[in-house]
Each structure stands twice: as C-alpha cells, then as structure tokens.
Amino acid sequence: MRSSEPRAPLGLAFAATAGLLFMLLPLALIFLYAFSTEERTYQWPPPGLTLKWFAVTWGRVDVWQALTLSVQVASISTLLALILGTLCAAAVSGTKFFGRETISLLVILPIALPGIITGISLRSAFNLMEIPFSFWTIILGHATFCIVVVYNNAVARFRRLHGSMVEAAMDLGANSFQTFRHVILPNLGTALLAGGMLAFALSFDEVIVTTFTAGQQQTLPIWMLEELIRPRQRPVTNVVAMVVVLVTLLPILLAYYLTRDGDQIAGSGK
C-alpha cells in the first residue's frame, strides 16, 4: 500500500463529501444561531449578530442548576460504570467459561433495546417498590447504560493485553496486586479514560431514560427538551445548544488522541 497511494474514484469521493457535509452543516448552523439578534422566530438569514445572549444566559439560575445536576449525575454514573464495567470486562476476557456469551449479551442489552424500555421498566419498578424519584433514581438509570461503554473499551484493550505479560510479572515476583498496579493498569489506563469520557458524555446527554426516572429535578437535557416542545426563550436555548456542542467536542478530541496511540501500537505489534 505504501508504494502507490490510491485515490478514491470521483463519484465515491463526492458521495463521501456530501455525506460529511450533511452531518456537519446542521451543527455549524447551531453556532451561527447563537449570535442571532432574532428573538421570536428561527429566521434565516439572521437579521443581525450580537453577543448579548451569552451574557443573558450566564445570568440564568435555572440553566446553572440544570448544568450542575447533569455534571453530578454524569460523574457518579461514570464512576460506577468504570468499576462495574472494568471488572466485568476483566472476567469475560480473561477466561472462557459457561455463560460467557450470555454475560456479553446482558451487558449490551441496555443499549440494544430502545431507551424507552429501560426508562419505563425502571419507572414502573420504582413505582412498584414505592421508591420516590430522586437524584439517585436518575443515577440508577444512567449507570445501567454507561456500563456497556466502559465494558466495550476495556474488553478491546484486554484482548490486546497478552497473558504472558501478567505471567512474566508474577514470575518476577510481583503479587497479584502489584501486577495489577504496575502491569495491567498502565496498559488499561487510556482505554478506561476513553471509556469513562464516553460514558460521561452519554450520561450528560441522556434524556429518554431521564424523563422516566427523574422527579422534579431538571438535568440540562430535560431543560432543553422543554424548550424544544414549548419554545419560550429561543436565544438562551441557542446559546446553551452551542455550549453543549463545544463541551462534547473536547472529550472527543481527547479520546481521539488517547486511543490513536493504542491503535498504532496494535497495528505495528501484530
């Protein structure tokens, strides 16, 4: 492949570029609307540009409260998912045992089935057991579907981690915990960071399950959903939407740098 760099046929290149534009232009539009002076409609082209709405949004208590709640929920769910997902991945990738396939399926199920099913089953279970909706019921829901993201990342990394390295460490006198601390964890680190960030993003953005498991609490997506159904303050929503896109952009860039190195190692190693 290195001798001749193949070029994509024209039609194919056109289709791919058009596809990319279809995916990226709507997001670019979000950025533009955040500066629009128009208050009451979604008018295009914007009649004028202003920075006013950033200051207005900054002063909004409800936006700040929703943001804080979202960050708290996402942090705790991610932490839980990291622990549960990594342990499960370690067990599944280490050995072959009866029911291993079933466990993989069980972990994938919460995202393979539509979110509304997770949401309504949790809600009716809370109702049956008379658990009041709270901060913790939101977390119960979020952690359930965050596990799979961490699990997938960790399983992929465990697959590359050769058992011989662990055996070598133990032959050289390290006990299980030292082996875990000095051999397994450094190899796993970036995969966990990437998985953790994706889990955080997933939880931060989740709305379907949250509508069923939240009581009076408003996470940022719930706040946005209400604005979508009944627009009352379009300029503020525009700004919030733009900030949310920016916030998700950072973990993606980070995750890219983290997993990119791993891919190169895997490619040259095999």
Binding site: R7, L87, A91, P114, I120, S121, L225, L228, A241, L253
Partner: protein, 318 residues
C-alpha cells in the same frame, strides 16, 4: 519445581495479607472471575432485568375499563387483545416502516463515508473524517434535533434555499404527495424521516468502517492478480466482508428509531409512533398494562433482529 521454589524461600519473601489474597486467587481463578463478575451481574440482574421482568409481568394484567384501576389479581391476555386493535397495529406498522426506511437510507449514505475513511483517507484526511463522524455521533441528541428544528422551520434555512433557487414549487409538489407530505416540512413524515436519519446515521458508519478496515490488503491484491476488475473486487470481496458491519450498524439505527418518542413529538404530524404510545399510555392515560404490552413489540422485534444479526456474524464487527 514448586516444591523447590517454596523451599528456597523465594515465595517466603512475599508474605503479607495482600500476597496471601493474591495467591489464593491465583490458585482459584474461578473464584476471582466470579467475584469480578458479581457486582456487574448483580447490578444488571437486579436493576435492569428485574425492572424489565416486572414490566413484562404488568402486561399480563388488565385495566378495568370503568374504574381505570389495574387489576393485579389475575393474569390475562386481555391487554394483548387490546394491542391488536387496528389503531394500535397501525402505530406498530408505521414505526417499523419508518425504522426500516431510516436504516436503509443510513446504510446508503454511510457506506461511501465509511469506505473512503477506511481505505483512502490518510493522515490529515483521516483525522478530518474521524472528527466528521465522531462530532455528529457524540453531539447532544437534543441539540441535533434542535438544529433540524431550525432548518425545517417555515422561516428557516431550507425554505430559504429553495426560494433562492426558485425551486419552491418542487418543495410544494413534494409536500402535496399524500402520506409523506404535509402542510410544512416540520409537520410531515419527510421531516421526521430526515431528523431520524440525521440523528442515527453516524451509528451506521463506525461498524462499516471497522469491517472494511479489517479486510486484509492481500485479499484485494490476490483478487486483482487473478484478473478481477476493481468493480468485481468490490462486489465479490469487499462488500461481502463489509456486510456484517452494515448489519451491526443496522441494529443501532433500527432499534433506536423503533423506540424513539422525542423526535416524532417535536418534528412530525400528530400520528403516534410506538414510543409515543408507550409514553402516553403510562403517563396521562395511566394504562400501564397497555404501555407494557406496547414495549413488548420492540423487544420481540429486536430479539428476532439480534438473533438474525448474530447468525450474520455482526457481533464480531461491533
């Protein structure tokens, strides 16, 4: 060997509680595996499967039509009979049709992107493609819907573009087609379809890209050495190997469309999809049994779908 090592004192140096625990697990790996699996299994088993089963159980109760109270004293199939009423079958049919069209359209648009990203993009372009796929994939679900609310609005950019190109008549002609048309884009099935497509399509790209990247280059070389034209190589070698990736991607697009209730609520006409039916029956109507029976539909469809996908080898491409 082990006796000699023990006598020479090598092992004696690593004493301590931690070491003892470590040694114990080294001798009994099964125990370690069990303990590692336990937290996740307990969580998923109790929180997730428990709730799911409780919900399924509710679908076998029936609601008393006069008092509106759920009768928990006996199991019945009455709710399922209610599910098969024509208006409910319509909802199911509409949703499945939408999910299928979104899936097919996603595959068609996603394939060239995945193909170029996997086989031609190098260096700078590779990074650009990665961003181009990951940004829409991970961008907030609601923000994506919001972007389309801006685009499809009457005073929005799409109508403006059609106007500038003097093609408003074309848009009007499209909207006057029964079923897929409507008064305006934002309250037609076309609009709903576009938003579904935009929101779920990125999930199709990654599995296809992974599948194509996994096709060994020497297979392609062998194919052309044996006299195949590039087009033949594509259809006989690359496409069959990429197919599990497409099936894997379709699991996401199909399942996600099947259960969504927010998109058709924001962009679309007032006709219900399965998700909306579930939401309204459990909420305002208070008919939990019927809501539960409705959720059984996507579960059954997805179980069949996953079973078929597993046979097509799609899980290796995830």
């Amino acid at each position: 060997m082990s006796v000699a090592a023990a006598e020479s004192g090598v092992i004696l140096q690593r004493r301590g509680v931690l070491a003892a625990i470590g040694d114990y697990f080294w001798r009994r790996p099964g125990m370690l595996i069990f303990l590692m699996l336990l937290p996740a299994l307990l969580w998923l088993g109790i929180v997730y499967l428990g709730s799911l089963l409780a919900l399924l159980l509710q679908s076998f109760f029936a609601i008393d039509e006069f008092s509106g109270v759920v009768d928990r004293s006996q199991l019945t199939l009455k709710t399922y009979a209610e599910l098969l009423r024509p208006q409910n079958v319509d909802i199911i049919f509409r949703t499945v049709l939408m999910a299928a069209s979104v899936t097919v359209a996603s595959a068609v648009i996603a394939f060239p992107i995945a193909y170029v990203a996997a086989r031609y993009a190098k260096g700078y372009w590779k990074a650009l493609f990665y961003l181009g796929v990951m940004l829409p994939l991970w961008a907030s679900y609601l923000v994506k819907i919001y972007a389309w609310k801006l685009i499809l609005a009457r005073e929005g950019i799409l109508n403006w573009v059609f106007e500038q190109l003097h093609l408003t008549w074309l848009l009007q002609a499209w909207l006057s087609i029964p079923v897929i048309g409507g008064n305006s884009l934002s309250i037609s099935y076309t609009g709903t379809f576009l938003v579904f497509l935009y929101v779920w399509m990125p999930y199709m790209i990654l599995p296809i890209q992974a599948a194509i990247e996994r096709v060994p280059t020497n297979l392609l070389d062998a194919s052309s050495d044996l006299g195949a034209t590039p087009l033949q190589t594509f259809w006989k070698v690359i496409f069959p190997l990429a197919l599990p990736g497409i099936v894997a991607g379709s699991i996401f697009t199909f399942s996600l469309t099947l259960g969504d209730y927010i998109i058709p609520q924001i962009v679309g006409n007032s006709q219900f999809f399965i998700g909306q039916a579930v939401y309204s029956h459990q909420g305002t109507a208070g008919n939990i049994p019927l809501a539960a029976a409705f959720t059984v539909v996507p579960i059954v469809i997805m179980v069949l779908y996953l079973w078929g996908a597993k046979r097509a080898g799609a899980f290796d491409a995830l």
